[in-house]
């Protein structure tokens, strides 16, 4: 265990992250790059960007609470050290996405009220299910919930957002690229480290599988709210039209083989949900857990 974990040391983290892909960045992007004029000059697009970024701050706050809370419960010193780097990664994500809200015009005194107003209730329930395990110092379910379910979801969502913003909003895309690089380490740790622990404690499986099912449901419900709700759907259609007008058909990029500009909201939701759930299934299978199909919201 300790040998494998040497690849997740703080030394490695320092060389790859602060001294690697984050070098010469400010709040996750190149200095002097600003939010796209298309978003800042269009109230609807700006409002939508605030709503999306709010979900990211909520998710990252949950990840910060979970990774820091799990350090105390970690069974060995090497896992504690990895979780220390993850804690700082998550705090950085909270900081850069909070900064994005400020860049989008949210006043510093309005931050908490903006988060309360826009936070998706299903995403909050998703976070609560995980934090309940963390509070109970239940290490294995905590790490699966955090590093496989939460991080796995974030990984795919951020990749899709990255594809959609690469041309239209390079500043946001750069911020996402650094975050995705961090998430890769986190999901890697979740899989590699937990697999061995589950083998040692197979009695934990039912509890973890129940948590996966519950969290997956709230995740799907969050996606449904974002894509299927009538108001949200209409907004998405309008936004996409404006983005295509500004940047052309190719402006929204390609993700999972699909041109995002050509997908309607239902298709986008289905693509995102099937990608994330497919990833869960594969990852859980690798660590010896049986994927549980969640109820459909």
């Amino acid at each position: 265990m300790a040998d494998f974990l040497s690849g997740y040391s703080i030394q490695y983290w320092l060389e790859s992250c602060p001294q690697g892909y984050l070098e010469e960045t400010e709040y996750g992007h190149k200095a002097g790059v600003s939010e796209s004029d298309l978003i800042l000059g269009d109230d609807l697009l700006r409002e939508q960007a605030i709503k999306v970024t709010t979900q990211m701050v909520v998710g990252e706050r949950c990840a910060l609470a979970a990774s820091s809370g799990l350090i105390n419960a970690a069974p060995d010193e090497a896992a504690k050290r990895f979780l220390a780097t993850q804690t700082l990664d998550e705090a950085r994500h909270v900081e850069i996405f909070t900064q994005r809200l400020y860049d989008l015009g949210v006043g510093k005194n309005d931050l908490e009220s903006t988060l309360r107003e826009h936070a998706n209730p299903n995403l909050v329930k998703f976070a609560e299910a995980l934090l309940e395990k963390v509070e109970a110092k239940d290490f294995i379910p905590g790490v699966v919930g955090q590093n496989i379910i939460l991080e796995g979801m974030a990984f795919s969502v951020f990749e899709m957002l990255y594809a959609g913003n690469q041309k239209l909003n390079p500043k946001f895309a750069q911020t996402l690229a650094g975050t995705i690089a961090d998430e890769r380490r986190h999901v890697g740790f979740g899989e590699n480290y937990i697999g061995a622990l589950i083998k040692e404690q197979p009695e934990k499986r039912p509890e973890i599988e129940k948590l996966q099912k519950e969290m997956s449901y709230y995740m799907l419900a969050t996606f449904a709210d974002q894509f299927r709700d009538n108001d949200a759907r209409a907004e998405l259609e309008t936004m996409k039209k404006r983005a295509v007008e500004a940047g052309g058909e190719e402006s929204q990029g390609t993700w999972q083989g699909a041109n995002l500009a050509e997908l309607d909201p239902e298709e986008m939701e289905a693509l995102l949900a099937s990608t994330v759930l497919g990833e869960f299934k594969t990852r859980l299978g690798r660590i010896g857990l049986e994927y549980q199909t969640p109820a459909q919201p």
Binding site: E26, Y27, I71
Partner: protein
């Protein structure tokens, strides 16, 4: 962050927003950790130590690991209790600092030929330091922000700061470089603790009495641990008196009597 013509012209709120950020931490540690491997320049040669020098150093490093693990568990546990975003983000930077300290000390033990550092730490850890760790863990578990920050960022950090400074003066070149890097991190931690408590004491003066009780309980444990470490390091008795000075100055500024 734009380049300020005069940093002291910032208003206090902007200053705090800057210094408690990941961005600040990130740019600060770049200065002294770049080109270091496990806290020192990789080209530094391993010193020739006598068996008894090596043995004493191993004991001291094992106890540093206990202190750093206590700080890692403490700082991470406090993130959930921290009252606001800036405090949470600052504590996250402290968590990774503490994790790094644990890692570099452990790596030093390996370089000194200790094959199983965890077993060695278990064997050589001071009972008083373990007791301190248990008490700190209890304060964190009770979500007692003020007492836990006092125990961790004022008492433990100030003591570590002084011990590492004194040890650096006597240490072999590799251990010295490792310690100097850690001291630079500790400056942020003790400053954060003192400022956070100073602000809270200003608004809640009754808190002072409670912190005095915490101090009375923890002081003997920390002072005895220090004495043990300095004995192992063979620091002349006359010089040991200086050690508690920075800690005593900090508690005096906060008005927390022993």
């Amino acid at each position: 962050m734009s380049d300020p013509a005069e940093v002291h012209a910032l208003d206090p709120e902007s200053f705090e927003e800057r210094v408690h950020s990941f961005q600040f931490w990130f740019e600060a540690v770049q200065g002294y950790l770049v080109d270091r491997e496990y806290g020192h320049r990789p080209e530094l040669p391993e010193p020739e130590l006598t068996e008894s020098e090596r043995d004493r150093l191993v004991t001291v490093l094992c106890n540093y690991c206990v202190g750093e693990t206590a700080a890692l568990d403490g700082a991470s546990g406090l993130i959930a209790v921290a009252p606001n975003r800036l405090t949470k983000i600052f504590l996250s930077t402290q968590v990774v600092d503490e994790g790094r300290h644990l890692e570099v000390f452990r790596h030093r033990l390996l370089a000194l030929g200790v094959e199983h550092p965890e077993d060695e730490i278990e064997r050589r850890a001071s009972p008083r330091l373990r007791e301190f760790r248990r008490k700190l863990e209890a304060l964190v578990a009770e979500r007692d922000w003020d007492a836990a920050i006092f125990a961790q960022n004022v008492i433990l950090e100030a003591m570590e700061f002084s011990t590492f400074q004194m040890h650096a003066g006597y240490a072999d070149p590799i251990t010295r470089e490792v310690l100097i890097g850690i001291i630079k991190d500790e400056r942020r931690h003790i400053g954060f603790g003192e400022n956070e408590l100073g602000r809270r004491l200003k608004h809640h003066p009754t808190l002072r009495e409670r912190l005095q009780r915490v101090r009375q309980e923890l002081d003997p444990l920390v002072l005895a641990t220090l004495e043990e470490a300095l004995g192992e390091l063979q620091v002349p008795r006359a010089e040991r008196e200086d050690l508690g000075r920075s800690y005593l100055a900090a508690v005096e500024r906060l008005g927390v009597r022993g």
